[in-house]
């Protein structure tokens, strides 16, 4: 177990270093001088010269990367051009807000997706399976930005059930209920693709498992169907379910970008979008790196959980 954990940890660190190099490289692809890209077009020559010195722009490329990496590790992502405040200061609260949105979306996607998947897989090719599959296909195909518009039009503007923007009513003093009310629509819009993927993957893995020998054996032994399903099939499927769920983090973060923009949800996605629109290079860089970090860590955590639950994984 520990060898596996260490190996996975090292792999994750390797990936993060590689990813940071890509982010660094990406920033250098911005046309023109990196110092100007970082400070914006209004920067004074002195400030530019100072930054060039700080970034080591006249030193070898790998030194520049190491300087940059050193800063990133210390949480120094530079200063936002558009907002003129340290990137970290902006991103940390946004990061939590995106986590809230992501948790909300998962709270919708996981139960619904899993239930549909399990039942569809168990009753393979039944009417329920067909319906579940079609539902999942729609979920996978609906453009989330468009769904968000429809949700706002119907549930906020016409029915008045939910607010259209933000996380809290700015007139009130917040509170959990207020947050929940604001969370519903963005979470629904963000949940569609993960829900569809979970439903389809869970279904597939249930079908797989129901054909495994131990399930057949259990049935042959005359165990009651409920025990076969809950005692054997689902328990064995659990590690896979966890992994499947963890893999949704990428889709969640992708979907959150659209919903955050449309619902003015103050998260990383919206910050990234604003930064892209404003050509705010340090901010783009910081937001991309933070999302990547979340994605990698979520996958790492899922692997660990899976390994803890399923000895087979550790062997591979």
């Amino acid at each position: 177990m520990w060898r596996y954990v260490v190996r996975r940890l090292l792999a994750a660190i390797g990936v993060l270093i590689g990813a940071s190099f890509l982010v660094f490289l990406g920033m250098r692809l911005v046309p023109g001088d990196p110092a100007t890209a970082i400070l914006g077009s209004r920067a004074t020559p002195e400030a530019l010269a100072a930054l060039r010195e700080e970034l080591g722009l006249n030193r070898p490329f790998y030194v520049q990367y190491l300087i940059w990496l050193g800063k990133m590790v210390q949480g120094d992502f530079g200063t936002s051009i558009a907002l003129t405040v340290p990137v970290t200061k902006v991103l940390i609260p946004k990061f939590w807000n995106t986590l809230i949105l992501g948790a909300g979306a998962l709270a919708i996607a996981v139960p619904i997706g899993t239930v549909i998947g399990v039942l569809s897989g168990y009753w393979q090719l039944s009417l329920f399976d067909r319906a579940g599959q079609i539902f999942a296909l729609f979920g996978a195909s609906v453009p989330q930005f468009w769904l968000a518009l429809v949700l706002v039009a119907v549930f906020s503007l016409n029915l008045g059930w939910f607010p259209v923007s933000g996380m809290y009513d700015m007139r009130g003093d917040g509170g959990r209920f207020d947050l929940l009310r604001h969370l519903v629509l963005p979470a629904v819009a963000t949940s569609t693709i993960p829900m569809a993927v979970i439903a389809r993957l869970v279904r597939a893995s249930i079908i797989e498992i129901m054909h495994q020998d131990y399930v057949r054996t259990a049935r042959a032994k005359g165990l009651r169907e409920r025990r076969v399903v809950f005692g054997h099939a689902l328990r064995n499927a659990l590690p896979q379910f966890i992994n499947i769920t963890a893999l949704q983090v990428g889709f969640l973060l992708s979907g959150a970008l659209f919903t955050e923009v449309i619902f003015s949800w103050p998260g990383i996605g919206q910050a990234l979008y604003n930064a892209v629109v404003a050509r705010d290079v340090p901010m783009v860089q910081g937001a991309v790196f933070v999302t990547t970090l979340v994605f990698v860590l979520a996958n790492l955590a899922a692997d660990m959980a899976q390994a803890a639950l399923d000895p087979k994984t550790r062997a591979t």
Partner: protein, 563 residues
């Protein structure tokens, strides 16, 4: 102009069974607004407005959805109308603009932090008597020291707290200033090295305003970082700012002047027009800027209040700098053909739903130098074609013209659809063109570097309630590199008029010189003025007391909530 037009419109709609066109709608709005203005919004009987709207109530939170995120909260080192609307509630200059009146051509200058001021007859020195008993929000007293401290920050490179950014943004205010002297603890004297007629008007402009910051705060946080701790003397105090989310201001209970009715204002950046409209409809904001023209009618139908300038008085112009170094455009006949070919009226009424006026001259309205009667270049395709033929291009240009614009931005309205409109019009006279659109902040940077070779025109939106704006846009001395004559227009006669106007201290004579210059500039056809904005705002029915002053900003101390 405050318009309670929902009722008036309901009446109109019952008379006209058919659907009102937006044009009529807005005319109706203007008419009601005009009537309201005459009834007493301005001047002698300000209470009349309250009679119409009921007794002002205290309290509540006003949430305003702005069209983009604001720049830094350094009143001396930031630009853009969006930001200025925030700044002017926290900070005050020595003199200020009276934005409580809508029936004036230009907002009158009123005492701000200076109780009174006096110009020497030669225009070389201005003495400001400061208002006693004013303190900054942190308790620092406003005195001659504090005022000199602030002005030195903007114009004295030897000063410890001199700020380059502030100096750049306030350049056109202090360019004639030699030094600031402290006469007594509550009096300062600004000494000029040459007379500058628009000096006081420049002091109140939004592009790098001259609002006073607490010197203690500047010393504590540093001249660069003070923007994160905005401490002024204004009617509202800064509470917090969450980037891209909100800027929160609370009423300054110890404000020296008219205390605001509302307890709190929240400025919410909502760059998506649809998101602003939705938030207004859902009651999450009270008041939005730049409503999409097509949503105005339905909002008014739903009982929301439209406030829009009913005369051409907002200092805004949406225009194009033509590249005067370009060989093709050096032929004045081609430039004139372009002017005649554009159907500005159609753009104003159809695409923009009468939320703008077609523009004639380059000088923006909202100042005394604007000539409302000036007209030139009517929409006339035949004449445009004749000019093209005369220039030897009867079959059209064999070259594609390139125009640059932004995708959005303060005052830019609907830049891309508007450029598409122009593109379509130019095609009628055989001019093919291409539109390159850039993000606004990026674009401002490109624009200030000047129109590059191979680009034929750069679109921009600006204007000031000071006629001097025409100078920095057209004077050859301000051609790039520098600011802001980015198309390198040069006409010695124009320069002569502008330079004479600069030093002219008589308001009427100076305005006349600017008018003459504008006429010459337009005869050269070096700029294409397209439209002047009417600056529509939409607010919830219970938002009262708003005054649509002839400025790109407003005074929220007048607003109260009827809830």
């Amino acid at each position: 102009m405050v318009v309670r037009n929902a009722d008036a419109l309901a009446a109109m709609r019952s008379i006209h069974a058919h659907r009102l066109s937006r044009r009529r709608l807005l005319q109706a709005a203007g008419a009601t607004a005009g009537a309201a203005a005459l009834a007493g919004l301005g001047g002698p009987a300000p209470s009349m407005a309250r009679v119409v709207q009921g007794e002002p109530k205290q309290g509540g939170t006003l949430i305003y959805a702005m069209e983009s995120e604001a720049d830094i909260l350094d009143p001396q080192g930031a630009s853009g109308w969006v930001t200025w609307r925030v700044h002017r509630h926290i900070f005050e200059p020595l003199i200020n603009q009276d934005l409580s009146r809508s029936d004036v051509a230009q907002p009158p200058l009123i005492p701000g932090l200076a109780e009174s001021w006096e110009m020497s007859p030669d225009g070389l020195s201005y003495t400001f008597k400061l208002r006693p008993g004013v303190t900054f929000h942190d308790g620092t007293p406003l005195d001659a020291e504090a005022a000199k401290f602030n002005i030195d920050r903007m114009m004295n490179p030897d000063f410890e707290f001199y700020n380059e950014r502030a100096a750049a943004f306030t350049y056109f205010c202090w360019l004639a200033t030699k030094e600031v002297q402290i006469v007594d603890p509550m009096t300062i004297r600004v000494v000029q090295n040459r007379p500058f007629g628009e000096f006081l008007n420049q002091m109140v402009q939004g592009t790098g305003g001259t609002g006073m910051i607490s010197p203690a705060a500047i010393k504590q946080y540093g001249s660069d970082k003070v923007a994160e701790h905005p401490i002024g003397t204004g009617p509202f105090k800064f509470v917090e700012r969450v980037q891209n989310e909100k800027i929160v201001l609370d009423r300054n209970e110890s404000y020296w002047g008219h205390k605001p009715y509302v307890d709190r204002i929240i400025f919410r950046p909502m760059p998506e027009p649809a998101a602003r409209v939705n938030a207004l409809r859902a009651g999450e904001v009270d008041f939005i800027a730049v409503p999409p023209p097509d949503s105005i009618q339905s909002l008014v139908d739903a009982g929301y209040t439209l406030s829009i300038a009913e005369t051409r008085n907002v200092p805004h112009i949406w225009y194009i700098h033509l590249n005067m170094k370009d060989p093709t455009l050096q032929d004045v006949r081609i430039r004139k053909a372009i002017q005649h070919a554009i159907d500005k009226e159609g753009m104003a009424t159809s695409l923009l739903g009468d939320t703008v006026y077609r523009a004639e001259g380059l000088q923006a309205p909202g100042n005394l130098s604007f000539d409302p009667d000036f007209t030139i270049y009517p929409y006339d395709v035949d004449q445009a074609k004749a000019l093209m033929a005369e220039a030897g291009h009867a079959d059209g240009l064999d070259q594609q013209l390139v125009f640059q614009t932004s995708t959005a931005g303060s005052g830019q309205l609907l830049p891309v659809p508007m450029m598409e409109w122009i593109q379509r019009d130019l095609e009628q006279i055989g001019i093919k063109s291409k539109i390159d659109a850039f993000e606004w902040i990026t674009y401002i940077g490109m624009w200030s570097d000047g129109v590059p070779d191979g680009v034929h025109g750069m679109q921009f939106s600006w204007g000031q309630s000071s006629g001097y704006w025409l100078d920095f846009t057209t004077n050859s001395a301000n051609a790039t590199p520098g600011c802001c004559n980015v198309g390198s227009y040069s006409n010695p006669k124009v320069d002569e008029l502008l330079n004479a106007a600069f030093s002219e201290l008589d308001d009427t004579k100076r305005a006349d010189l600017y008018k003459q210059a504008d006429k010459l500039i337009m005869e050269d056809a070096a700029f294409i003025p397209v439209v002047n904005d009417r600056a529509p705002y939409i607010m919830a029915p219970d938002v009262k007391g708003f005054v649509h002053a002839p400025e790109e900003a407003f005074d929220l101390t007048l607003v109260w909530l009827d809830r």
